[in-house]
C-alpha cells in the first residue's frame, strides 16, 4: 500500500526522467560500451570478426604514432592549461582593478569565446604561415622568417591559438571569483601593511582557489581532447608531429580502417583522462580557504 502510494506520487517525476534516461543510454553509454567491446576484437567496420583478447592494447604500447600522440597531447595540454589560467587570472585581476571602460574591455576579452575554433585556427594558420614570416623578412629577423607551423615548434603555434581563444571563458570565471571577495578584506590587509604582492599570494589566491580548481580541471579535460585546433593549424603536421590522441582516433579509426584498434586507444584515453581529473582534484583539495 505504501509502495503503491509512493509510486503514484513519483509517477510524474519518472515520466519526466525516463525518456531522457533511455535516450542518453542509447546515444551515449551504449556506443561507449560498444566501443569497449570492439576494442577486444579485430572488427574493422564490416564482415565477421574474432575476439583477439588484449592484442590491440599490447600493440598500442609498441605503436610509435600512438605513443607520440600521447606525448604531444600531454605536452600541449599541460602548457596550454597553465598558460590559459595564468593569462586569464592576470586579465581578471586587471579587469577587477579601477579601470576605465570596464564593460568594453570585458566585451573584447570575451569575444573569442563566441567564435568557431576551427575558423579561428584557419586564421592563425595564415598568420603563422604568411604574415609573420613576411614581416620578419622585412625586419631581417631570420629566426622568425620561416613558417613556425612547418618546424618542430609547430606545437607552440597550437598553444598560442588555444590560449588566444581559451582565456576568454576562464577570465570570466576568475572575475566572478574575484568579485566575491569583499573590499574590507583588502582594506584590512592594507592597514596591516601588506604589500600588493603579499596580498595576492596570501589573500586573493587562497580565496579564489575553488575557481582555480574548477578552471584547471575543465581546461585540462578540454585540452587533452584537442582536435579542432590541430585540424585548422597543422592537420597533424609536419609529418605526425602535432597529431593529438583525438586526431589519431578520428583519422585512423574512421578513415584508416583501424576501428577496433583505435577503440582500444580510446579506452586507454578514457582511463588516462579520469586519472588526470582525479589527480587534479586531489592535488588542489585542501588548498582552498573559505571566508
Amino acid at each position: 500500500m505504501r509502495l503503491l502510494k509512493s509510486v503514484r506520487r513519483s509517477w510524474p517525476y519518472l515520466l519526466m526522467t525516463i525518456p531522457a534516461l533511455v535516450l542518453f543510454f542509447y546515444f551515449h553509454t551504449w556506443p561507449a560500451l560498444h566501443g569497449i567491446f570492439l576494442s577486444f576484437t579485430n572488427w574493422n567496420g564490416f564482415g565477421p570478426y574474432h575476439f583477439i583478447g588484449l592484442k590491440n592494447y599490447v600493440d598500442l604500447f609498441h605503436d610509435h604514432q600512438v605513443l607520440h600522440a600521447y606525448g604531444f597531447t600531454f605536452l600541449f595540454a599541460f602548457v596550454t592549461t597553465v598558460l590559459v589560467n595564468v593569462v586569464s587570472l592576470l586579465i581578471a585581476l586587471a579587469l577587477n582593478a579601477r579601470i576605465k571602460l570596464p564593460n568594453t574591455f570585458k566585451a573584447i576579452f570575451f569575444l573569442p569565446y563566441v567564435l568557431s575554433t576551427l575558423i579561428v585556427s584557419f586564421i592563425f594558420n595564415y598568420l603563422f604561415s604568411n604574415v609573420i614570416p613576411d614581416v620578419a623578412t622585412q625586419l631581417h629577423l631570420t629566426a622568425l622568417s620561416q613558417n613556425l607551423l612547418g618546424t618542430r615548434w609547430a606545437w607552440v603555434g597550437i598553444v598560442i591559438v588555444s590560449v588566444w581563444q581559451g582565456a576568454a571563458f576562464n577570465t570570466l570565471l576568475y572575475l566572478a571569483g574575484l568579485q566575491t571577495i569583499p573590499d574590507d578584506v583588502y582594506e584590512a590587509s592594507s592597514i596591516d601593511g601588506a604589500s600588493p604582492w603579499m596580498t595576492f599570494w596570501r589573500i586573493t589566491l587562497p580565496l579564489i582557489a575553488p575557481f582555480l580548481t574548477i578552471n584547471m580541471v575543465l581546461a585540462a579535460k578540454n585540452y587533452l581532447q584537442v582536435f579542432d585546433q590541430v585540424v585548422g593549424m597543422t592537420n597533424g603536421g609536419p609529418g605526425t608531429a602535432t597529431q593529438s590522441v583525438s586526431f589519431v582516433i578520428y583519422t585512423n579509426g574512421l578513415g584508416g580502417g583501424e576501428l577496433s584498434y583505435q577503440s582500444a586507444n580510446a579506452v586507454v584515453f578514457l582511463i588516462v583522462l579520469v586519472i588526470v581529473a582525479l589527480a587534479q582534484v586531489r592535488l588542489m583539495q585542501g588548498r582552498e580557504v573559505q571566508l
Binding site: 517525476y13 519526466m16 574591455f105 571563458f169 570565471l173 579509426g253
Partner: protein, 272 residues
C-alpha cells in the same frame, strides 16, 4: 580609497585587447583585397573594398543554404534542450533524497568525464544504421549530450527556488506537470538563458560532431563547409578569408547586440 584609475592595469588591458583584435583585423584586411593587392601588402587597407570576394565565397559555399543548415540545427537544439533538460533536472532535483534519482544524477554527472572519441567510432555506425546520420540526428545528439552538464547547472539553481509555491499549487489540485510548466519553468528564466546561450554557441560552432555525422554535403554546417572547401580555395586567401568572415559574422552580430546579456548569463552558469 581606490578611486584613481589603475594605469598599469589599463596598459596591460589595452595591449591584451590589441592582441585579441589583431587577428580579426587581419582577417578583414585580407578578405577585402584583390589577390594583387594582397601580394603588395597583407595588413594595409585597400583604397576600395573588393566586395567580389564575398560574392564568390557565397556562391562557392552555397552560403545561404549552409547558413540555413546551421540556423536550423542550432535553433532546434537550443529550444528542445531548454524545454527537455530543465524538466529532467526538475524531476531529479525534487527527488534527490531517493536512491533512484540520486543514482540518475550521478550517472549523468559521471558521463561528463567520458571523452567523445570513445563513442565516436561505434556511434557513426549506429547512427547511419538507424538513418540518423543527418541534421535530425545531430539535433538529437546535442539535446541528449547536453543533459550531463545542463542538469548539473539547473539543479544548482533549482535548490534556490522555494518549495512553498509548489506545495500551495499542489494543495489547489494542480498536477506535477502543470506545476513545472506554469510555476517552476518561468522561475528558471535566468538559467534557461544560460543553457540556451551555451547550447547555441556549441551547436553553431561545433566541428567534430558534424564532421563525423553528416554524410550529405547538402546538410553541411558553416564550420564544416570551411573545412570541406579548404582545397577549393588553395592559395586564394582573399576568397578563403571572405568565406571565414561570412561564417563568423552571424555570431559576431548576435554577440555585439546582446553582449552584456550573454556575458552575464554565461558567468551565472559558470559559477553555479
Amino acid at each position: 580609497m581606490r578611486t584613481r584609475t589603475n594605469w598599469p592595469a589599463m596598459i596591460f588591458l589595452i595591449v591584451g585587447a590589441l592582441f585579441i583584435l589583431f587577428p580579426i583585423y587581419m582577417a578583414i584586411a585580407v578578405a577585402v583585397k584583390s589577390p594583387q593587392e594582397l601580394a603588395q601588402s597583407v595588413l594595409g587597407f585597400p583604397s576600395h573594398i573588393h566586395w567580389d570576394n564575398f560574392r564568390q565565397a557565397m556562391s562557392i559555399t552555397h552560403y545561404w543554404h549552409t547558413f540555413g543548415n546551421s540556423l536550423l540545427i542550432t535553433f532546434f537544439a537550443v529550444v528542445l534542450t531548454v524545454l527537455s533538460n530543465s524538466m529532467v533536472a526538475y524531476a531529479i532535483a525534487r527527488n534527490m533524497h531517493t536512491p533512484l534519482f540520486k543514482g540518475i544524477y550521478y550517472y549523468f554527472f559521471a558521463a561528463m568525464f567520458v571523452p567523445f572519441p570513445i563513442l565516436m567510432l561505434p556511434l557513426v555506425h549506429q547512427m547511419s544504421s538507424i538513418g540518423l546520420a543527418n541534421r535530425v540526428g545531430l539535433i538529437i545528439l546535442y539535446i541528449v549530450y547536453g543533459i550531463s552538464f545542463n542538469v548539473f547547472v539547473y539543479i544548482g539553481y533549482l535548490k534556490s527556488i522555494p518549495l512553498e509555491l509548489e506545495e500551495a499549487a499542489l494543495v489547489d489540485g494542480a498536477s506535477r506537470w502543470r506545476i513545472f510548466w506554469q510555476i517552476v519553468f518561468p522561475l528558471l528564466g535566468p538559467m534557461n538563458a544560460t543553457v540556451a546561450i551555451l547550447t547555441g554557441l556549441w551547436a553553431w560552432n561545433d566541428f567534430m560532431l558534424p564532421l563525423v555525422m553528416l554524410s550529405d554535403p547538402n546538410q553541411y554546417t558553416l564550420p564544416l563547409v570551411q573545412y570541406a572547401f579548404q582545397s577549393q580555395y588553395s592559395t586564394n586567401y582573399d576568397l578563403a578569408f571572405a568565406s571565414y568572415l561570412l561564417a563568423l559574422l552571424p555570431m559576431i552580430i548576435v554577440y555585439l547586440l546582446f553582449q552584456r546579456w550573454i556575458v552575464s548569463n554565461v558567468t551565472k552558469g559558470a559559477i553555479k
